[in-house]
Amino acid sequence: MADFLVLFSDPVGAGYRMVQALTAQHAADVMKLLNPEALVSVVPAEQLTVLDRHQLVADWIRLTQD
């Protein structure tokens, strides 16, 4: 199992959760199970040290909600 950051965007807003899963697709499936209405995108946790979460969420909101 590996850690993934799963971005979601649903009718009430946007955010992310850390999910432990076998693959990125598995992580997306877990989020869809919890939040069937959400659009999701998966980032492997090992990439997070070089990613600014504020910028990640800002870009995600621009992509999915504007």
Binding site: P11, G13, G15
Partner: protein, 255 residues
């Protein structure tokens, strides 16, 4: 009851934050003393955990902004981290720190549930410079209610809110500003109940507050839950030796 009426401006819709939960900050050896009001402990904690984070924000904000934290100057034993964080922001981001705007009521949000947080609204006092741009700074935000109250206080007095910086953002939704379609649905479902029950204009709810309230289907369900929460607050505060202030009793404001 003072009505919260200003939404977060777009410039402060998404805060800057370091962590998603408070585990790392709680593990710091100075945390307990800082949380209990120790200024030296708060300085140690802020410089240890936030220096690299704040340096990473250089260039995000123009110089000469005013950094302001929700803190209670008169209450000894009140959390010293927000003010020390605001001071660090001012030093690293080359701005000013505001110490005259103070939280004039304690709200005991630690350990409170979502409905209790909505009912226990902090009040602020102190001079706002009209036309000045403020950055709001806090150690932890959950539903964003305290920051929303501070933003409303500043905007009501003629200041503007340029951004938000927090060490921990535990909200399920990361932006502070609620989505307009959600606000529209809440206005349709609860025409007056949100303002009457909480003293908050629906447009001034935070993203996580609006998301939470979207879970209620009827006005009756919302009011019943609020009434139950008011009782729970009363019991919780009495257990700590406090009495609920009249202004916080939400049911007296029902039409």
């Amino acid at each position: 009851m003072r009505i919260r009426s200003h939404p977060f401006p777009d410039s402060a819709a998404l805060p800057h934050w370091l962590w998603d939960d408070d585990q790392a900050i709680k593990e710091h050896p100075a945390y307990r003393a800082a949380k209990a009001g120790g200024q030296d402990a708060a300085i140690d904690l802020v410089w240890d955990v936030a220096l690299a984070f704040l340096k990473g924000l250089q260039g995000e904000f123009p110089q000469a902004l005013t950094y302001v934290a929700p803190y209670a100057r008169e209450a000894s034993g009140d959390n010293a981290i927000p003010l020390m964080l605001a001071s660090a922001c001012a030093e690293i981001l080359q701005g000013l720190v505001e110490t005259e705007i103070v939280q004039s009521s304690r709200v005991f949000h630690t350990g409170a549930k979502a409905m209790e947080r909505l009912l226990l609204r902090p009040r602020f006092d102190g001079p706002v410079t009209p036309g000045a741009a403020y950055v709001l700074v806090d150690d932890v935000t959950c539903m964003g209610g305290t920051l929303a109250e501070l933003a409303d206080y500043i905007q009501t007095a003629g200041g503007s809110v340029a951004g938000v910086i927090t060490l921990v953002n535990t909200g399920r939704l990361k932006p502070l500003k609620a989505k307009q379609p959600v606000i529209r649905r809440l206005r349709e479902r609860f025409p007056d109940a949100i303002q009457h029950t909480f003293g908050i204009e629906p447009g001034a709810l935070t993203a996580n507050e609006s998301s939470y309230l979207s879970g209620f289907r009827t006005v009756e369900q919302l009011r019943n839950r609020a009434a139950k929460a008011a009782e729970e607050i009363n019991l919780r505060l009495r257990a700590k030796g406090f009495q609920l202030e009249t202004e916080h009793a939400p049911l007296s404001h029902q039409p």
